[in-house]
């Protein structure tokens, strides 16, 4: 169901992209800057609307509402971004009744930027000064490297590390891999033990992108005029080759991700490890309850021995949407929400958010060892990984389509028709076509 909606959504986004680019010339390069010099407080009390899919955001808003009687925030709920909320945002922006604030994941933000759907809040008080508070790469996600531009306030991140079954590795006498070569060797040994080292997901293309990210690869680049599409960059193809090798030798499981089958793979000890983001801890804890106490977390395997590169999977920002009559107040709330310790603690408590601020890892919730992970304080590992994420990774403006097209290719590779490399090169061409169809400038 979700997938079908996401696809339908992709089509809708493209249609609205056409509509918007037809009526606002040059939206791709300079749209949105007009708001930059008009960020002033409104007269009198203001009520802001904020659409999000984080459970319990009302609690954080209640803290703000208490402290700011003149700027009240009303929280509204939608499904997660690709599940319909982004489509709704685009429709609402077009109809002129979008909420003042919206939650937007980093990979969707360029799409909103290209379609002129988010307000540049750089000139709003305090926004530029906040740069130092955020992990470097998250800040470049919301500025796109443009001067005097900030299109959203970073909210959370998903630095990656290796979750592994400490008990099984130890019992089998296999060392915890620190490089991808060792990971492949360990994969072969584990296969002899009857297990799989990990599961390769055909649907989580952004997880694969996280691996490319770690390898210093890029999928998109924008020189201010047009986009370079590099799904088939050397780093990207290297990562694809590596996983294709594991798939060919039947060294990784290929269970459909996020299903009961997949949970059971981990719960039964068939699958031994998972390179995933910090929020993956929740997924494992809930999906594999029988394995409590047996897990541990180590840094991601490296391409070059001695490196400490990390990938990232997921993360959101809070943006002021086009048409908001109160960009100043909206920006103030977005800043507070994502930097105030009380707000961050509230979001962590209700939605397990891992903040994008440099000091976010200092929240009390992250200071204790977890029983599920044998008492290890896993957040130390993720905090270190967050600092090692390459700050220059760029998402493209048509990610919904990219995910769909590459996922089609990946499922082909898993069923034996084609390879991961084919999926990327096909995805490359389809992405260029889709961007051209949406009147987005592409370098070839």
């Amino acid at each position: 169901m979700a997938n079908r909606i996401a696809r339908a959504g992709g089509a809708l986004v493209l249609v609205s992209a056409l509509a918007l680019s037809a009526c606002s010339t040059g939206a791709g390069t300079d749209g949105g800057t007009d708001a930059a010099d008009a960020c002033t407080p409104s007269d009198g009390p203001v009520t802001l609307s904020f659409t999000t899919w984080l459970p319990g955001m009302e609690d954080a808003a209640a803290i703000w509402n208490e402290q700011n009687p003149d700027i009240q925030v009303e929280v509204q709920t939608g499904p997660n971004g690709l599940g319909g909320t982004y489509n709704n945002f685009f429709n609402q922006i077009e109809a002129g009744n979008a909420p003042d604030l919206g939650q937007i994941e980093y990979d969707a933000l360029p799409n909103f930027r290209v379609q002129d759907g988010v307000v540049n809040i750089a000139s709003c008080e305090g926004v530029m000064d906040a740069q130092d508070e955020f992990i470097d790469w998250t800040w470049s996600q919301v500025t796109f490297g443009e001067e005097d531009s900030v299109y959203a306030i970073p909210q959370d991140t998903g630095p990656e590390a290796l979750f592994y079954r400490a008990d099984l590795f130890e019992a089998a006498g296999i060392d915890i891999p620190t490089t991808w070569d060792e990971y492949a060797e360990a994969a072969a040994q584990i296969r002899e033990e009857g297990g799989y080292i990990t599961n390769f997901s055909q649907s989580d293309i952004n997880a694969f992108a996280g691996l490319v990210w770690q390898a210093d690869g890029q999928w998109f680049e924008n020189d201010g005029e047009a986009w370079d599409v590099t799904l088939d960059s050397p780093e990207s193809l290297m990562v694809a080759d590596y996983w294709q090798g594991l798939l060919d030798d039947d060294l990784v499981a290929t269970l459909p991700a996020w299903t009961d089958e997949w949970n059971n793979g981990y719960n039964s000890g068939e699958v031994w490890s998972w390179v995933s983001a910090v929020w993956g801890a929740n997924s494992i804890t809930s999906g594999a309850p029988d394995t409590a106490g047996n897990w541990a977390v180590a840094p991601m395997p490296q391409w070059n021995e001695g490196d400490s590169a990390a990938g990232n999977w997921g993360g959101s920002s809070t943006a002021v949407l086009k048409g908001s009559e109160h960009p100043y107040e909206a920006a103030q709330f977005a800043l507070w929400l994502n930097t105030d310790p009380e707000a961050l603690a509230s979001m962590n408590a209700t939605a397990n958010i891992y903040p994008a601020t440099k000091t976010g890892g200092d929240l009390p919730a992250f200071s204790e060892g977890l029983d599920f992970f044998g008492g290890q304080n896993i957040y130390d590992v993720f905090a270190a990984a967050g600092a090692e994420v390459n700050p220059d990774f760029t998402w493209g403006p048509t990610m919904t389509q990219v995910y769909t097209d590459v996922a089609d290719g990946f499922s082909g590779a898993i069923s034996g028709s084609g390879t991961l490399t084919d999926a990327l090169t096909d995805g490359q061409q389809k992405t260029i076509d889709a961007m051209k169809a949406a009147a987005i400038a592409v370098n070839e």
Binding site: G83, N91, W279, N282, A288, P289, A351
Partner: protein, 292 residues
């Protein structure tokens, strides 16, 4: 009449062979099994606690925690789920009732009055049957945006009260089950057209009305896309949209998974009740139309 008194032949038509009969039964059994398995799974899953959910057999019970799960669901977010159930019942119940009234009136009018453009009007309504509700959602959103009525009860309720299929059904049914003579007689007795409709026609059309009501009730209950586009305030959500949104939050809060499952089980109960209690009328309704 004497023929009916004579010994009745036990079987009309050729007697089916044992082979074909058991073949048909087998196919039916497989189909029944196929359709009931997911509901069975849902019921079993709803009785498990979170630990048992992944570790025990999917199609058989572990510890029976159904009541606990329902209590947890009721406590989560101050019983938001039951607000959604009420909303759904209101959208679907009231929406279907109004839709039935409108469709019956129009169908009756099309069947019993001849006026210029009648067939054109009917054809336009028939065309409406072909337009999927999903395709209308976005234009409806833009229209409601123009008048500032998105994210309100009315933005979901108003589009639900039209039922082109209901008009079609009502027309067919009215022309076959409401005799012109009866309408004439009512007129001669001094009954106005409105009174005739409500006192005479609706009585005769009850089976069709129940059918229209059921169809529309299920359609509104299952309509997911329109509320998805229209609504942002979770207090207004119907249960389908609410569960979908919870399901999309499972990554953030794993406990929600249990609420989605138990919620899905509870959400089909009103549909089952509606079907079981109206089934009698529904069957006779369809049957009557077909036989005449």
């Amino acid at each position: 009449m004497s023929a009916t008194k004579a010994p009745v032949k036990k079987h009309n038509g050729p007697r089916e062979s044992l082979f074909s009969r058991s073949g048909a039964m087998l196919v039916m059994a497989i189909c029944t099994f196929y359709f009931l398995i997911p509901i069975w799974w849902l019921f079993v899953a709803a009785t498990k606690d979170r630990g048992d959910f992944t570790s025990s057999a999917p199609l058989w019970f572990a510890d029976f925690n159904l009541i606990d799960n329902i209590v947890n669901l009721a406590n989560y977010r101050e019983g938001l789920f039951f607000q959604w159930m009420l909303n759904s019942i209101l959208y679907a119940g009231a929406g279907a009732a109004v839709a039935t009234l409108f469709a019956t009136m129009m169908g009756y009018a099309l069947a019993k009055y001849s006026f210029r453009g009648r067939e054109t009007l009917f054809n336009v309504v028939l065309g409406g049957v072909l337009v999927p509700a999903t395709a209308l959602a976005l234009p409806l959103f833009l229209v409601f945006s123009q008048v500032g009525a998105t994210n309100t009860f009315w933005s979901v309720f108003l589009p639900s009260i039209v039922s082109p299929f209901g008009v079609y059904l009502a027309r067919i049914y009215a022309s076959s089950s409401v005799p012109d003579e009866l309408v004439e007689a009512a007129r001669i007795d001094g009954s106005g057209e409105v009174r005739t409709f409500f006192t005479v026609a609706t009585r005769l059309m009850t089976p069709a009305m129940v059918t229209i009501f059921l169809f529309q009730f299920v359609t509104i209950w299952n309509n997911f896309f329109l509320p998805l586009i229209m609504l942002r305030d979770e207090k207004l959500f119907p249960v389908t949209l609410g569960l979908y949104i919870w399901n999309s939050q499972v990554n953030q809060i794993p406990e929600i998974r249990a609420y989605v499952i138990i919620g899905a089980l509870l959400s089909i109960i009103p549909l089952i009740i509606a079907f079981l209690s109206l089934q009698r009328f529904w069957r006779s309704g369809l049957g009557t139309g077909a036989l005449k």
